[in-house]
Symmetry: C2
Subunit: 418 residues, 2 copies
C-alpha cells in the first residue's frame, strides 16, 4: 500500500512539471472516457463487491448512490467527453497593462496545483472530479468513502491508463489507498502539499473538513433553500414551482426545504398547495409531501405541526416546512437567520419586492419566479460543475473550471527599479 | 465601552441595508478626508499620547510606524480622495446569459458584507482600510493594536463624522473598543457575523489569525522574496536591481531577502555586488548591507557565514542571504522550498530560462528583469491596495477593491421549472 505521504509527494513532483498543452489534456479526457468503457466489466464487478459489502450497513438511498450500471458508466464517460469542447481555463490573461515605467504586467489564470477531494460513496464523482482536474491543468488526489473504494480503485486505474495513453503521467490522478480516517486528516493538514481541498458529501463530512483543515477549503453543498410566495404571486405558477423545487429530486442540495408564504395570500395559496403536493400526488402514485406547518398555516390546512428545528433542517426528502410571514421584509429576515446561503426564490409580480429580495438575500443564487432546482453548473452555462460553493470566498454557487484556478502576476521588465 | 458583540450586531444590521449608491459612497470618501484634516490637532494630540505610552516598550522602527505628523495625515486624506475616481466594484455584471428555458442568469459582483481587519500600530491603516471598505460597499469593523488605539479612536470618530455628513450611518466603520486579546479572538470566531477577516501586520499576527480563525481569512504580507541572477544576466543592471530590491525600503514585504546566483556568473557578479551594497553604500553614508553567505560565495567575497535559518527568514532589514546555485532549475527548486510565495525575480537574457522561471515559480508575482519592489496595488494598476495576498484562494498579490467583493447569481424567470 502506498502511504498518503508517498502519494502527496508524487503529486507535488507532478505539479512542478509544466502544465500540459490543451490538446494533450483534451486527448487525455477522450482516452479516459474510452478506458472507462473498455473496463466496464471490471468496474461493474468491483462495484458489486462494494455493494455486497455495504448491504445491511447503509441506507437504501446510500446503496442507490453507490450503485453503478452500464447506463451510469456511460454517463461518466460522456461527462469526461463533454469537458473537451470547453474553453481552456489555463493561461487566460485577465489583466494586461503597460506601466508608466515600461513594465509589462499581466494577471494570468493558472491551475491551483494539487487539488484534493474528500467525498463519499458516489463512484461517478471519481471520474467527474478527475476530468475537471485534468482539464484545468491541476494534479488530483482523491479520497473516496470506504464503501466505494473497490469501485473507485478500478475506476482510477482505468483513468490512469487513459492519462498514459495521452502521454501524461498517471500520478496526475491518484486515489488515496489508506482507507482509515487518518488519511482524511492527513489531507486536511497537508499544508504546502495540498493547494485546495474540496469536501463533497453530507453536512457532517463538510463540517468536519471545514473545522479541521489547515489547507484551503471550499465549503460546498448544504442547502436549506427557501421559496417565498409573495401576496402578488401567480398562484398557479407558484404551486408548480414549489412542487418542482421540492419533488423533482429531493435529495439534491438545490431542492426547496422551507416555504414562506405571505399572510395575505396564505388562505388562498395553502389549500392549493396541500391539494397538489399531498392529495394529487398520492392519487397519482407519487410520494406525497409531508407538510410541517407553523401555527398560522395549521389553521388553514392539515399537516404535521412544525418544530423550530424543522426550519434549520436540510430534509433531502419529501418533507416541506411551511411558515407564514407578514411581508417580504419578514421573509428576508427569516432567510437571513435560517438559510445556508445556497439558493432562495421569491415568487411575485411586484417588481419592488423582487428587487428588494434580490438585493437583500445574501445567498449564492437568488431567483425571481423560478425553481431553485436550476442552481447547477450546466444550467448556469459553466458546462459542468464540481459542487456548489456556499461560501463567499473565491467561488460562489456552481463551481466550474475557473474555480479550480488561481492567478499569478507575470511581470516582464528591462531592468526597472522602483 | 461597547462590547465586541454590540459592535458586531450593529455591523450586521448595517450590512442588511441596501448598498449606498456610488455617488453617496464617493461623497463619503471626500467628507472623510475633509474631517481628518479638520481634526488634525486632535488626531496628532492623540498620537502623541500613544507615542509617549509606547516609548521604551517598543522598538524604534515600531515608534516610527506609530508616528503621525501633518505630512502623514495629509497622505491619509489624499489616499481617501484617490479612491473616488476608481470604477465602482459593486453591481458589476461578470456573466450575463439567457438559458435555453428563458431564464435570465447574471453573475453580479457584490460586497462581502462585514469586513473585519486586525492590524498593528500604523494609524494610516485605519483610514486606508475604512476608505476601501466604504468604496466597495462593505461595512467595516477595525481592531488596531493597543499601541495605536488613542490615535485610531480619534481617527475613526473623525471618519464617522464624514460618513454622517454624506448621509451614511456611522456604524459603517467601527473601531473595536475592547483592547484585550479577547476582542481579536472574538472577531476570529464570529462566524455568521464577519464575512471576511483581514490580518495585516507581522508574521506572528498573521499566523495567529490563520490558525485560530473560524471566519474566512485572507493571508497577507509575509515576503521572503528571491532574486535569481542567471548566467546570462546583464551584470550592471543586476547590481542595480538587487540594490533597489534590498535597500529602497527594506521593511516592506516586497523587499528582497535572498539572492540566488548562477555558479558560472558568481565569480564576476559577487564582487560587483559586494562593492556596491557594502563598500560604496558605506562611503556614501548609506546603511551597508550585511551579506550572509553560503559556502560557495564565501570563497569569492567577504561576509557573514549564512546559517540554514537565514534562508527561511524575512529580515526586513539591511541583510541579504546569498546562495550560489548550479542552474535555473536549482534556483526554482530552492524557491519552491523556501519562498513565502510573495514575489520572485529572474535576471536573465535567456528567454527559455525566463519562461521556465515564470511558469514554474509558484508565487503571487513573478518577474523577469525587474525589482520585486514593484509588487504593489498602485504599481499594478489597481489604484490602491489593502495588503498583498500570499494565498491562492480568492485574491492573489496586491488586493484592490475587487478583493473585497464576492459574487451572487441573480436569476430572473417567468415561472420556469426544471
Amino acid at each position: 500500500m502506498k502511504t498518503t505521504q508517498e502519494i502527496l509527494t508524487a503529486a507535488v513532483l507532478e505539479k512542478q512539471q509544466p502544465v500540459p498543452a490543451l490538446a494533450q489534456r483534451n486527448e487525455a479526457l477522450m482516452r479516459m472516457a474510452d478506458c472507462l468503457l473498455e473496463d466496464q466489466e471490471a468496474i461493474l464487478a468491483a462495484n458489486q463487491q462494494d455493494l455486497h459489502a455495504a448491504v445491511g450497513s447503509v441506507s437504501e438511498v446510500m446503496l442507490d448512490r453507490l450503485l453503478l450500471n452500464e447506463e451510469r458508466l456511460a454517463g461518466m464517460a460522456a461527462g469526461l467527453r463533454a469537458l473537451v469542447p470547453l474553453p481552456d481555463p489555463v493561461h487566460r490573461i485577465l489583466r494586461d497593462t503597460q506601466s508608466e515605467k515600461g513594465l509589462h504586467i499581466q494577471l494570468e489564470q493558472v491551475p491551483f496545483g494539487v487539488v484534493a477531494m474528500i467525498y463519499e460513496s458516489r463512484p461517478n464523482v471519481t471520474s467527474d472530479a478527475a476530468g475537471l482536474i485534468i482539464k484545468s491543468g491541476n494534479v488530483g488526489v482523491l479520497r473516496c468513502g470506504r464503501e466505494a473504494w473497490q469501485s473507485a480503485s478500478v475506476i482510477v486505474r482505468s483513468l490512469q491508463r487513459g492519462l498514459q495513453q495521452a502521454g501524461l503521467h498517471q500520478q496526475r490522478i491518484q486515489l488515496i489507498e489508506d482507507r482509515t480516517r487518518q488519511s482524511s486528516l492527513d489531507l486536511m493538514k497537508a499544508k504546502g502539499s495540498v493547494d485546495l481541498l474540496l469536501p463533497r458529501g453530507g453536512a457532517g463530512l463538510i463540517q468536519a473538513v471545514v473545522q479541521n483543515a489547515e489547507v484551503p477549503v471550499i465549503e460546498t453543498g448544504t442547502g436549506i433553500c427557501h421559496i417565498f410566495v409573495d401576496d402578488s404571486a401567480d398562484l398557479q405558477k407558484a404551486v408548480q414551482i414549489v412542487e418542482n423545487a421540492k419533488c423533482s429530486r429531493p435529495s439534491t442540495c438545490n431542492a426547496e426545504e422551507v416555504l414562506l408564504v405571505h399572510q395575505a395570500i396564505a388562505p388562498a395559496f395553502l389549500p392549493l398547495l396541500q391539494k397538489r403536493l399531498v392529495e394529487e400526488r398520492r392519487k397519482a402514485g407519487q410520494p406525497p409531501v409531508e407538510l410541517r406547518l407553523d401555527e398560522a398555516s395549521q389553521k388553514i390546512i392539515p399537516g404535521t405541526p412544525a418544530t423550530e428545528e424543522d426550519f434549520h433542517t436540510e430534509f433531502l426528502d419529501y418533507i416541506l416546512a411551511v411558515h407564514v410571514v407578514a411581508d417580504v421584509e419578514e421573509a428576508i429576515a427569516h432567510i437571513a437567520s435560517h438559510s445556508t446561503h445556497h439558493s432562495e426564490a421569491i415568487l411575485t409580480q411586484n417588481s419592488r419586492h423582487a428587487e428588494l429580495f434580490l438585493n437583500q438575500v445574501d445567498s449564492a443564487a437568488v431567483y425571481v419566479n423560478a425553481s431553485t432546482r436550476f442552481t447547477d453548473g450546466g444550467e448556469f452555462g459553466l458546462g459542468c460543475e464540481l459542487g456548489i460553493s456556499t461560501q463567499k470566498m473565491h467561488a460562489r454557487g456552481p463551481m466550474g473550471l475557473d474555480a479550480l484556478c488561481t492567478t499569478k502576476w507575470i511581470i516582464h521588465g528591462s531592468g526597472q527599479i522602483r
